[in-house]
C-alpha cells in the first residue's frame, strides 16, 4: 500500500501538528449552527452544529439515512435547512443558489456529461467562469496531469474504465479551484484494492492543492485513513467529532465504539472509583473489571466497558488471579492471514472477540473449537462508557 518510492507527504494521522480546531482564535471556513431538515414526516437532520477549518480533510461518517448526505447537499446548495444556519467564510449561505457557491461536489454516480469529452467535462466549470479558451486548455491539461489521466482528454466518458471515470469526476470538481471540495461517497464504486490506492491519492491531492475537503462516507476505514477529523453521525445527530485515533481509542458512547471497528462491550456496575481507576462488578467477569478513568463515577451506577479485540490477550494456560481475567471456550475462529479472530464464549453466555496477530509463520499450539482459553486486558486498554 505504501509505495516507498513516493515522496513522503505530511498526510492523515501523521499531521499531528495540524489542529486549527484546538485554537480558540481560529475562524472556521464552514460553520453549521443548529441545522434542522425535515423530509415529509422524517427528520433527516436534528440540530447539527459543527465547524470545518481551512485546509482540513473532514469526514462525515455514518450508516445510510443518518443525514450525512443531506448536510453535504446543504453546503452545495441543493437543500436548504429548515432551521439553523450554514455559513462559508463567515457568510450565511441561505438564498445562494448552487451555481453561485464557491464549492464543488464530486457526485457518487460521478454524473459525467456523456455527450462531452473528458476535456470538455473537466473544462465545464472553467468555461462557466468565462475564462479565455487558452487558459481553460492550460488548466484542463494541468488538472489531467494532476489526476494522472494525460492523453485521455479526447475520450468520451463511456470509453473509460470505472477508475478513470472516478478520476475525471474528481478532476472536473477541482478544476475551478473551489474553496472547498465535497466528496459524496467518492470511492464506493471502486474495488477494494483501487479504493485503498485512491484514498492515498485523495490525501496527496488535498495536500498539494491545500484545499479543504469534506467527504461523506459509510466506510469507517475510509474515513479513518483520509480524514483529519471525523464526525460520526447517528439518526440525524452528531455522536462524536474527533481525530480518527480519538474516535477509535476513546469513543464517547456505545454507538460510536460499535460503529467504528469491532468492540467487546461488558456491562457492569461501579464498585469503586479513586479518580484514576474505576472498578466494576460484572456477570461476565467474576474477578472484577478494572479500567483507567479519571471521572468520579457514582457507586452502583451502570456503565459499560469497551475493549477492542486486539487489546485482549489470549492465554492457553490460566494466568494468575487478576482483574480483567475472563475465561471461556473457543466457539469459532477466522484466519485472516495477518490476524486470527477468535470468538470465545464466556461462562455468562456472552461471546467475546479476540484478535491475535500472527507474528510467527509456525503455529506452536493450534487452538481448536471448544478449547478452554483465558483472556486478559490491561486497564488502559479499556474505555468506560456511560451511554
Amino acid at each position: 500500500m505504501n509505495d516507498p518510492a513516493r515522496p513522503r507527504l505530511n498526510i492523515g494521522a501523521i499531521r499531528e501538528s495540524f489542529a486549527p480546531w484546538a485554537d480558540p482564535n481560529a475562524a472556521p471556513l464552514v460553520r453549521f449552527e443548529g441545522v434542522y431538515k425535515q423530509f415529509g414526516d422524517e427528520t433527516a437532520v436534528k440540530g447539527v452544529s459543527f465547524d470545518i477549518y481551512e485546509g482540513e480533510f473532514f469526514a462525515l461518517l455514518g450508516p445510510s439515512g443518518c443525514g450525512k448526505t443531506t448536510l453535504m447537499r446543504m453546503l452545495a446548495g441543493f437543500e436548504a435547512p429548515d432551521a439553523g444556519r450554514v455559513s462559508l467564510g463567515g457568510q450565511d449561505l441561505a438564498g445562494q443558489p448552487p451555481h453561485r457557491r464557491p464549492v464543488n461536489m464530486m457526485f457518487q454516480s460521478y454524473a459525467l456529461f456523456p455527450h462531452l469529452s473528458v476535456e470538455q467535462n473537466i473544462g465545464f466549470g472553467l468555461s462557466q467562469q468565462g475564462l479565455p479558451r487558452a487558459e481553460i486548455r492550460a488548466r484542463v491539461e494541468e488538472t489531467l496531469a494532476l489526476v494522472k489521466l494525460e492523453g485521455l482528454g479526447r475520450r468520451r466518458p463511456h470509453q473509460l474504465s470505472g477508475g478513470q471515470r472516478q478520476r475525471v469526476a474528481l478532476a472536473r470538481a477541482i478544476a475551478p479551484r473551489p474553496k472547498m471540495l465535497l466528496l459524496d461517497e467518492p470511492l464506493a464504486a471502486l474495488d477494494k484494492k483501487l479504493r485503498e490506492e485512491t484514498q492515498f491519492e485523495l490525501m496527496r491531492l488535498q495536500q498539494t492543492l491545500g484545499m479543504t475537503f469534506l467527504i461523506v462516507t459509510h466506510d469507517q476505514e475510509e474515513a479513518m485513513v483520509v480524514a483529519d477529523r471525523i464526525a460520526v453521525m447517528s439518526a440525524g445527530e452528531i455522536a462524536q467529532i474527533g481525530r480518527p485515533a480519538e474516535i477509535y481509542e476513546t469513543p464517547n458512547s456505545r454507538y460510536v465504539a460499535d460503529f467504528i471497528g469491532d468492540v467487546n462491550l461488558f456491562e457492569g456496575r461501579v464498585t469503586g472509583a479513586d479518580g484514576t481507576k474505576v472498578r466494576l462488578g460484572s456477570n461476565d467477569c467474576p474477578a472484577g473489571l478494572e479500567a483507567l478513568e479519571d471521572d468520579h463515577l457514582a457507586m452502583g451506577s451502570p456503565v459499560w466497558l469497551a475493549v477492542r479485540p486486539e487489546k485482549l490477550k489470549l492465554h492457553l494456560d490460566p494466568p494468575g488471579e487478576t482483574a480483567n481475567r475472563l475465561s471461556g471456550k473457543v466457539v469459532d475462529y477466522g484466519y485472516l492471514g495477518d490476524w486470527t479472530t477468535y470468538v470465545v464464549e464466556l461462562a455468562s453466555g456472552r461471546t467475546v472477540r479476540a484478535a491475535v496477530a500472527n507474528v510467527s509463520r509456525l503455529v506452536e499450539r493450534p487452538i481448536g473449537y471448544g478449547d478452554p482459553v483465558w483472556l486478559t486486558f490491561a486497564p488502559d486498554g479499556a474505555v468506560v462508557l456511560t451511554r
Partner: protein, 264 residues
C-alpha cells in the same frame, strides 16, 4: 429452446401482415399502372407521377401540408418539452395527476370531438378559418404525443447531471440547454418526427378547422376520391406513405441509443 416458429405461427403472421398491408401494397402497385382504369392492370408506367407534377391543385395541397407539418410539429415539440419538464422535474405539485391526465386525454379523445370543439372555439373567437387555424389545431392534437415521448426519456435522465452542471457554476436554464437537452435530444427529435407525420396524415381535424385556400393533401385526396378514384390519387398516396414511413423510421432510429453508451 432454439426451435424456429411453428407452422401455425408462420400462418398467423402471414395472415396478420397480409390483412394489414395487402390494401397498401395494392395501392402502391396500381400507382404504377399504365391503364386509366384503376382496377385493370395495363402495364408498368410512371406517367401518373408525371401527371401529378402538372396538377397545380395537388401541388398546392402538398405544399400546404408540408408547411403545416413543419410549423405544428415544431410548436408541439417546444410545448411538449416544457410540459414534460414540468411534469417530471417539479416533483409533486398540486394537481400534478390532473395535469398529466389532461395532457394525455387527447390521445384517446375521438378526433371528431377535438375537431368540432376547435371549430367551435375558432367560431366563438371570431377567427377567420384558414392555414393558421389548422396549424394551431395540429399543434394541439400532437402536443400530447410529443409530451409522452419526451417525458419517458426525461424520467430516466439522471438528475445528478443537472445538479453537477449547476454545481460547476451553470445557472439552471443554461444547464437545461447545455446538459439536459443534449441528453434528451433523441426523444425530442423523435417527438418532432411523430408530430410531423401525425399532422401530415390528419384528415378529420383539418376538415373541421380548414378554410378556403388551406386544403391539405389528405382533404384533397378525400374529395377527389368521392368523384371517383383515379391512378393519380394512387401516386400521391404512395408518396404520402413513403414520407410517413421515412418519418416513423427516422423517429425509431434516433430513439435508439448509440452502441456502447451505457445507461445513466
Amino acid at each position: 429452446m432454439t426451435r424456429g416458429p411453428t407452422l401455425f405461427n408462420r400462418i398467423s403472421v402471414f395472415l396478420g401482415l397480409g390483412f394489414l398491408y395487402a390494401p397498401i401494397v395494392l395501392l402502391v402497385v396500381y400507382s404504377f399502372n399504365a391503364s386509366r382504369l384503376v382496377t385493370v392492370w395495363g402495364g408498368f408506367s410512371t406517367k401518373w407521377y408525371a401527371a401529378l407534377l402538372k396538377d397545380q391543385q395537388m401541388l398546392d395541397a402538398i405544399w400546404i401540408t408540408v408547411r403545416l407539418g413543419l410549423i405544428s410539429a415544431t410548436a408541439a415539440t417546444v410545448l411538449g418539452t416544457l410540459a414534460a419538464v414540468a411534469l417530471v422535474r417539479s416533483g409533486r405539485f398540486r394537481g400534478r395527476t390532473l395535469f398529466t391526465g389532461m395532457l394525455q386525454a387527447p390521445l384517446v379523445l375521438p378526433e371528431v370531438i377535438l375537431g368540432l370543439s376547435l371549430l367551435l372555439l375558432f367560431v366563438a373567437m371570431g377567427l377567420q378559418r384558414g392555414f393558421w387555424t389548422v396549424a394551431v389545431s395540429h399543434a394541439t392534437m400532437t402536443l400530447c404525443y410529443a409530451t409522452v415521448v419526451i417525458q419517458a426519456r426525461l424520467v430516466s435522465f439522471d438528475r445528478a447531471l443537472e445538479e453537477a452542471a449547476q454545481d460547476l457554476g451553470c445557472p439552471p436554464i443554461r444547464a437545461f440547454f447545455l446538459v439536459t437537452l443534449p441528453g434528451i435530444a433523441p426523444a425530442v427529435a423523435a417527438a418532432w418526427m411523430l408530430a410531423f407525420t401525425l399532422s401530415l396524415d390528419d384528415l378529420v381535424i383539418a376538415s373541421f378547422t380548414a378554410g378556403p385556400g388551406s386544403t391539405t393533401l389528405p382533404m384533397r385526396i378525400y374529395s377527389q376520391v368521392r368523384l371517383g378514384v383515379n391512378p393519380e390519387i394512387n401516386a400521391v398516396s404512395t408518396l404520402l406513405i413513403a414520407i410517413v414511413t421515412l418519418g416513423v423510421g427516422i423517429a425509431t432510429l434516433v430513439q435508439r441509443r448509440p452502441k456502447g453508451v451505457p445507461r445513466g
